[in-house]
């Protein structure tokens, strides 16, 4: 029976009322009295030496308030990087400076060189055009393998090369892994590209800096997934503002997908300029700017190999990846191809030996950082393509080969340093085979062929590590932050609750699902619980939302705080009921004495807490407000199996997705409808990566797909009606809700299924090309078919 409230209910998303009626409060909806506008003059050259920036003509243009260049930021720190990776020799990564405004050189198209603050956006733009920038162009490095060659032009002259780090994982295993390849009965090798993507949230980035001269407090309104992190990074490392003088507000945010995690120059600029100009300064990114200034995602070039014994058991995996960092290190960039990627390389399989090598490379391109899935899609794609390729080389069924090598006993310690607590990969694969009607595929293929089309079926599994992350562990791995979460639960006198969470909702529906959890724990109506987030002045601390961590970490903090509330409320109830505390039970929003009909309602207890006339003042304080910080003891490991069925037009190369089935194990589910929605969105992005999205640079470092005329976003008509299921549930063993997280699964699990399906279709047409790179465009398919 579906519930109509609390945990497990598909409660409608309460936030959608304001979003769908145009009453959302996004950063660009906010305007400060007397605000000025900034326009950034950005480099249209990928690599060059700045000889001079002459602002004299621009300074006198109508409406100009002030023009800023690098010299104005000489006393200011650079953009910090939040993760230090140690290379395979034990050396720290190379970490270049990252100025707010380009200093000495420009290193990618889109890098801000100067900023004009003016009375209007158009006046700021006019003046920016009058700035005279003299740049001597240098050869650009775009291709990663060229970038690390001897004698390649250096992106950063003060570094020894364009190699950020050369990471080996686990370095001590390398010899044993190499030996396993020598001993293997069969080796499958695959070279592939994980295509660079632009996140393209519907809402472009916006920042408003405001400075209050009366108390010296700075406020930054920004489109962020983690306002507290921005406060810390910008306050402590860039501008030198203590937390108590800096408030960061991220109100309604229209999608992030990772790209709004990071601290950007525009945020620091607006905060800085608001004080310098003594008026609020607002920046709203245009879509064109977003393409060249939002951190991009993915961009790996990989060679991966699988060793198998004669019985087709996986004996070893070895990978060699080049990961593009772009021109500078974005906030969490170094962690993505390493700890969020290498640790996932075991996938769902009991491969005893694994060695992952990653070379992170600087190029004259926009910085690359986490994008929905972050490292895990790259791991899944290469592994699941590899297993499929192995099955075809060996002439065995790809599903059977997977099943044979599945991990079946938990907990399972992988050779890549993580321990899966639970999972049931057989169950999700069983469920998938039913959903995908694998048995009926032959008939569907015959029907397609009768129409001159080819049909293919592709399957894959995935595992991901969510609920990021145990602080002590990530500290050892180089994180310069902890990854706990906090929550404050404030109960008001009349019984309503306000929960202030450090998680940030930018489309995920936390205001609904988080309220369901607290309402369930107390046994009250969801509508009595209000979720507040996105403001450092209201929530004690927050590491924010990414890595499918919100319910697993933020939700757990909220559970802990609510447990404290309930414990205190029980004390109050025991006083009111004149019973011993141990006999008090909370059920359906009322406290009762076990075995009696004596009870007191939730609202009477909360009222007593704030009107403590009859109250145990000698034992407990009045009021009912509790805070908890929760630091997870492990990652969570959602997993699943996906199937994609495509039709391929051999004359045009056009691929259409006819069916898509997703069987996920997310552990316990709070709101099934929201979970399905998260999977739908993730699938759209995964299919977008597989078929459509292509962030391409030319050899001079010019972005070729710099607008929607060339960057293909998935549209509804590109996508099928999905069949998603999350009935296979192995609850997480180490968080109080038994939840695992569902935000990224769709984007992680879907690209290999799509590509496997396309290759299957091509094989049925007599063409076995081994691999085809994403995006699988009609032109590429046609070329492969006719090559």
């Amino acid at each position: 029976m579906p519930k109509d409230g609390g945990i497990g209910a598909s409660s409608k998303r309460r936030e959608d009322v304001r979003f769908l009626t145009g009453n959302g409060n996004y950063t660009d909806d906010m305007n400060m009295r007397g605000q000025a506008y900034v326009h950034f003059l950005r480099s249209d050259i990928a690599h060059g030496t700045i000889n001079s920036v002459d602002t004299s003509a621009a300074a006198g243009m109508p409406g100009v308030v002030q023009i800023f260049t690098a010299t104005d930021f000489e006393g200011v720190g650079g953009m910090p990087c939040g993760w230090q990776v140690t290379d395979k020799h034990g050396e720290a990564m190379q970490e270049p400076g990252h100025p707010v405004l380009a200093t000495g050189k420009v290193r990618h198209v889109g890098e801000p060189i100067a900023a004009v603050v003016a009375e209007s956006v158009e006046q700021a733009r006019d003046a920016a055009e009058a700035i005279n920038v003299d740049i001597s162009e240098l050869p650009a490095v775009v291709n990663m393998k060229d970038a690390v060659k001897e004698g390649a032009p250096k992106v950063h002259d003060d570094l020894t090369s364009n190699l950020c780090y050369d990471w080996g994982f686990v370095e001590e295993n390398k010899g044993a892994v190499d030996q396993a390849f020598v001993d293997a009965a069969h080796v499958t090798t695959l070279e592939l590209v994980n295509n660079r993507l632009v996140a393209n949230p519907m809402e472009p980035r916006v920042a408003i800096g405001d400075y209050n001269r009366s108390d010296g407090e700075h406020t930054l309104y920004t489109t962020s997934q983690n306002p507290h992190v921005i406060r810390l990074l910008m306050g402590a490392f860039v501008l030198g503002i203590p937390e108590h003088k800096l408030r960061v507000v991220a109100p309604d945010v229209g999608g992030g997908f990772g790209t709004k995690i990071f601290h950007y120059q525009e945020e620091a600029f607006c905060t800085f300029a608001a004080k310098a100009c003594n008026r609020p300064v607002k920046w709203t990114s245009t879509r064109s700017e977003a393409f060249i200034s939002d951190a991009h995602g993915r961009d790996h070039v990989t060679k991966i190999e699988l060793a198998l014994d004669a019985a087709h058991n996986f004996t070893a995996i070895r990978t060699d990846t080049y990961a593009n960092m772009g021109a500078y290190l974005s906030t969490f960039a170094p962690s993505v191809p390493t700890w969020l990627h290498g640790t996932l390389m075991a996938g769902n399989y009991k491969t005893p030996l694994i060695y992952v090598n990653v070379k992170a490379v600087f190029t004259n391109t926009v910085p690359v950082d986490a994008y929905r899935g972050a490292g895990r899609p790259e791991a899944t794609f290469q592994l699941e393509r590899l297993v499929d390729k192995a099955a075809h080389e060996l002439g065995v069924d790809p599903i059977a080969l997977r099943r044979q090598n599945f991990i079946t006993e938990f907990p399972y310690a992988t050779p890549v340093a993580v321990e899966y607590d639970t999972g049931d990969y057989v169950a999700t694969m069983d469920r998938l085979e039913e959903m995908a009607d694998a048995a009926g595929f032959k008939a569907r293929r015959a029907a397609s062929e009768a129409n001159g089309k080819l049909r293919g079926l592709g399957v894959n599994c995935y595992i991901e590590a969510c609920g990021i992350a145990p602080s002590n562990l990530v500290g050892q791995l180089g994180a310069r932050a902890g990854l706990y979460e906090s929550a404050t639960v404030r109960v008001n006198a009349t019984g309503g609750l306000v929960v202030m969470t450090g998680s940030h909702s930018h489309g995920q529906g936390h205001e609904t699902s988080f309220a369901q959890v607290v309402a369930e724990m107390i046994g009250i109506d969801e509508n009595m619980v209000e979720i507040v987030h996105g403001d450092t002045a209201r929530t004690p601390m927050g590491m924010g939302t990414y890595g499918s961590r919100s319910i697993a970490v933020g939700g757990s903090a909220m559970v802990r705080a609510t447990e404290k509330i309930i414990a205190k409320a029980k004390k109050i109830a025991s006083h009111l009921l004149e019973a011993s505390e141990g006999d008090i039970e909370l059920k359906d929003g009322a406290f009762s004495v076990a075995g009696t009909d004596k009870s007191v309602a939730w609202g009477d207890v909360t009222l007593a807490a704030y009107v403590p006339h009859n109250y145990p003042l000698e034992d407990i304080e009045p009021g009912l407000e509790e805070t908890a910080f929760y630091d997870p003891s492990n990652f969570t490991y959602p997993s699943g199996a996906y199937a994609c069925e495509v039709e391929l037009d051999p004359e045009t190369g056009q691929v259409t997705i006819e069916r898509f089935s997703a069987a996920d194990d997310f552990g316990n589910i709070i709101n099934p409808m929201i979970v399905s929605g998260q999977v739908h969105g993730g699938l759209a992005q995964g299919i977008g990566q597989a078929l459509l999205e292509n962030c391409a640079y030319d050899a001079d470092g010019q972005l070729q797909s710099a607008s929607y005329m060339d960057y293909a976003m998935p549209r509804a008509s590109d996508l099928p009606f999905y069949d998603v299921d999350h009935s296979c549930q192995t609850p997480c063993t180490h968080n109080p809700l038994g939840v695992k997280g569902c935000g990224e699964a769709g984007a992680i699990g879907s690209p290999p299924a799509v590509v496997n399906a396309v290759l299957d279709a091509m094989r049925s047409g007599g063409k076995d090309v081994g691999h085809i790179d994403m995006p699988v465009t009609p032109s590429r398919v046609w070329a492969a078919m006719n090559g």
């Binding site: 158009e122 064109s288 004359e651 070729q704 797909s705 005329m709 590109d718 006719n786």
Partner: protein, 263 residues
């Protein structure tokens, strides 16, 4: 956008007059021009809006049985009102862009712009239509002169396009996945003077007639007649979305499918 003046004439004569101003430019649906202005890629000092000129609006059939479409008529109007007379052309209009584009964008703007990947140029050239301006009438064969290039003189306004209605026609379009303009599209028409085949999206010189296919189809109107033909892709548009060779392949496939659809 840079600043500009706007003129909103209600007659063609006033529009022509307004366009004689320095750096004046006609504005029709604005679906091409406004994004160009927003990106600061053009800086006209005055925009002369053609939207208020009643004579440039609407779809009708003239005494010679030609379908006459006013230069200011939107794609949506053509899609709705030409359907009974010339379904292939109405179908072409119905698949341009998205509803917002179709409700603003006009035939006059499209043929004046002559984007190498636009739809109307194929329909106009494939039909052997006549482009009517404030000054003259220009046969389609003389009008399209290369990528973004036409026979129009400075300040000349496309007031109408007159389509002889073929006995059968079909427009087959392969979408460029991002813009949804044609990657390559073929307009095939059976006219009194023989079969015409116009191809858009493929050539660096814009829309063109595929003469070889026209000859083959005039002799034997069947998909098989074009199956063996090929065009040279080495000079064709080559970009992120497709190589010249791929586009050359699509020229054949789209033409063949258009013919097949005509039965």
């Amino acid at each position: 956008m840079y600043n500009f003046d706007v003129e909103q004439p209600s007659t063609l004569a006033d529009a022509v007059q307004a366009l004689s101003r320095d750096e004046a430019q006609p504005l029709s649906g604005g679906q091409t021009l406004i994004p160009t202005l927003k990106a600061r890629l053009a800086a006209p000092s005055v925009l002369v809006s053609l939207g208020g000129i009643a004579d440039m609006q609407g779809v009708s059939v003239d005494g010679e049985g030609r379908l006459c479409i006013g230069g200011g008529t939107t794609h949506a109007t053509v899609a709705a009102e030409a359907a009974a007379h010339y379904p292939a052309l109405a179908g072409l209009a119905a698949r341009i862009g998205d509803p917002a584009v179709r409700n603003r964008g006009t035939i006059g703007g499209s043929v004046a712009n002559n984007d190498p990947s636009a739809c109307y140029p194929a329909g106009v050239l494939g039909s052997g239509a006549v482009i009517v301006t404030n000054a003259r009438e220009i046969a389609a064969d003389d009008y399209f002169q290369g990528m973004f290039d036409t026979a129009l003189e400075e300040g000349e306004i496309v007031t109408e396009v007159k389509f002889p209605i073929p006995s059968a026609a079909h427009y087959e379009k392969m979408l460029q996945p991002a813009s949804r303009f044609p990657l390559v599209a073929a307009f095939v028409a059976k006219t009194a003077a023989g079969v015409r085949v116009a191809i858009t999206g493929a050539s660096n010189n814009g829309v063109f007639r595929w003469r070889e296919a026209e000859a083959a189809l005039s002799a034997n109107f069947s998909a098989d007649a074009v199956a063996g033909l090929s065009v040279d892709g080495s000079d064709m548009i080559s970009d992120l979305h497709g190589t010249g060779a791929y586009r050359a392949n699509l020229v054949g496939v789209m033409t063949k499918r258009a013919v097949a659809a005509m039965g």
